[in-house]
Symmetry: C4
Subunit: 270 residues, 4 copies
């Protein structure tokens, strides 16, 4: 039982007291970053050819470490969730967001032994190891603040997404009907027009597709100008939520029992 | 009379109590989305050829449903606006924003039987069905908030539009006179220069038209940098309006239960 | 003397009481807009050829009206500035921003009779008539608010412009030295590199000039990401100034003598 | 000792009382700007050829002035930092940010006499003279405010950078696997895909690299739309920090003269 507790403490990100904790913490983080760099370099054909063995060793070591870590986390899940029965705690971990990421991190290695799978899917799945880095920051105040801001503005942002979607579909359909005759290849269907609409509204403007007719240019200009409003809307929402959240946190800190004036610092009469 | 009330309740978006209400609600929403998807897929020539019959059935069913809905809404308009006489209530609905959208949704089907009309206009008109989705969200707090923010900032945004327009015309005319000699085809008239000005100020920058002379590039750089300010202005306006609106709503919620003036600290009379 | 007062009142934008005021107001505004549209259409060669006579009449009428207006404004300047001596009042008007715009509006017509001048300069000068439209809005609350916001943030925006300039020069010089060897034509001098830097930092990205070397792309990516911060900075400045200004105006409106709690509306003890 | 004090006062940017101070101040600023202009013009081959002697004299004079200034600053460092021992004060100046910039400003001239060095590195190092202009503004309130805002938001901005990095790597790897088959040259490795990801997320969109497959376009659209949020996040952070900082400064200014707690309304002890 004592080993179990020790292992749990070593892997637990919430408490980094001992040197052992910090070592495990940095070792896993380092391994994730090495994995991402390897994935990155493997995509260069000449590097891939020359260092194939190195990449193979990195993969093997990573799989062993992450697999062991995953098994320990399943084993010690009853310490993570002491409020439920052990077997339920294990299922809870396996089904949690972080549990799934931990599984997806090792899965691409074992999968080809069981089923026939596209190599590219394997590579993409391996990338999910990167998301494990989020764990390290999970307890940072800034990430908490950003998370709270997004939770607070969820409904407003969804409505913005809804309005943007309406605008995209409307402008794409209009543009398809305007430009299709002049550029039957570029604006061959509404899908292509939608690609144009996104590139214009977000002001990316690759330049692979743009209107050539007079009416098309007028519509495009209007959409691009509306794009400014579309940037302004979520910015306004997030700004105000940030201010709200910060003021809310400060008020909670100041607390009810105000014994001193927050302005001048003088003591208050009782 | 009872049937009329039942029909009215079924179509009314404000109250979704019974299972029937929810069914009608989701059925119409689903039909709108199917229509938009059909419109989208029809623009792909090969899909259009293969599934012509399917698209025809979707259109027929939609027309029947939306036409019946439109007629019921006219019939039950006196329940929607009980404060005016029945025939006035009907005219009020027909002339309302949603009434016009409802009519425009079915019109493209009937129009070709009466007048000769461009097929593209019909297609675009059918798209207006999408706006009916706004009804579903009409009562969401987020949409209300956004609407209130835009109402509050209307005058400020109009002035911003006015300033942007001045800036666009000024820079387009200047650029036309600067670049016309070097690129007589690209900057052939102020209309084309205006197209450049919009693409630059909104930072879309397709790359189909840009200055090549030294002075032209300097002017273009200045316009692009001013474009940042042009984004900052409406963002600032909307941010502040959002904060205002949220604080205003909270203050109304707080209300009554304070015994001292928060500004001067004087005790309040009971 | 009475005619002088009447003429002054007719032209004065601050007071639009009588019907005559409104007529003069709209007549001049209309003439300005017609002038801008004419300038716009003249740039289309075929339109210019066909309607040359019409454009000539518009120009002649505009010149007569604006010249008379300018002379009346000089004559009635002592009513506009009653605090100084008449001849000083006239000089004050002639030297004022609006006085110069009024002169520049008619000057391009008379100039070619005195000195040899490029036709393009004449055309651009005529465009300044557009700025007279600003007069019409001079008294709108929104324009006042925007003006106040820019005055309040002047120093902060100047520092932002200074930082942006430093960043542009630094990145342009760096990029010139990085890319010059690989693309001696595109990055032929720091001037061209500056053109790239502006297009990247403002996220316009026409696509006529971009790095091709590895280091160049890394630097370009960093500049583009910094561009986000460069947008965020003035937006933050203007947002906060807007909120400040609105709260400041409201506080002034609420006034000192708060007899009622601004939250609950209860009367305050004296 | 008196000469030392005089020299120190002349170079010290904090106090510009005498005419001599102002002269030295403007002379050095002017020399820096002339240097940057020279560096700029030297990059134009024809200008460089014609005015080579002029550029040589500018360089020689600058080196003499900046070298003398650097030596004086080392000598008078004990007046700048009177709290530490003289030799420590000198080391402190040499190791400070401004001390390093001052050294880097003259180094490129002396370096080639000692080691073999690339001419381009020399040119880039000379550019650092520009950063000396920051000294002039070091004491402006606006720059202080911006510095405080960035200090306050440091943690939040770092997290934003972390999230943006994750997003860039994830989307680049995904896009590489999606587009590599269709465009093996454009998306030849994840490095190129990262270049695309930055250009899209920052909405620069040069147009040298973009997806052509259907899935690639969908992913690109999602990334571009997320780009809006990525702009909104730091803007919101900086806006709120600005408002916080301004309110904080004003509260400090208000201070003492309140007799009641503005929060709870209780009377304050004197």
């Amino acid at each position: 039982m004592k080993i179990k507790q020790t292992l749990y403490n070593l892997l637990d990100e919430d408490q980094n007291n001992s040197k052992g904790d910090a070592f495990v913490h940095y070792f896993i983080s380092g391994l994730i970053i090495i994995n991402v760099i390897a994935l990155f370099l493997e995509s260069y054909q000449n590097i891939n050819k020359d260092y194939q063995t190195l990449f193979w060793y990195i993969e093997i070591i990573s799989i062993i470490v992450f697999s062991i870590e995953y098994l320990i986390r399943i084993w010690t899940a009853d310490l993570e969730y002491p409020e439920v029965k052990p077997y339920r705690a294990r299922l809870k971990y396996i089904g949690s967001f972080m549990g799934i990421i931990d599984l997806v991190s090792v899965l691409p290695f074992y999968l080809p032994y069981f089923i026939k799978i596209d190599l590219r899917v394997v590579r993409v799945l391996r990338l999910f190891r990167l998301l494990r880095l989020l764990k390290l920051n999970r307890h940072s105040n800034s990430l908490k603040l950003i998370t709270q801001v997004f939770k607070r503005t969820k409904a407003d942002i969804l409505i913005t997404v809804f309005i943007v979607s309406l605008l995209l579909i409307l402008s794409a359909t209009l543009m398809y009907n305007i430009e299709n005759e002049a550029q039957p290849e570029a604006f061959s269907n509404i899908g292509e027009a939608l690609w144009w609409a996104v590139a214009t509204l977000t002001t990316v403007g690759y330049g692979d597709i743009y209107p050539v007719t007079g009416i098309g240019k007028v519509l495009s200009g209007v959409i691009a100008l509306l794009g400014i409003g579309i940037v302004a809307l979520p910015t306004g929402i997030i700004s105000s939520a940030y201010i709200e959240e910060i003021q809310h946190n400060r008020k909670k800190a100041q607390d009810n029992s105000c014994e001193h004036c927050p302005h001048c610092g003088k003591e208050l009469k009782k």
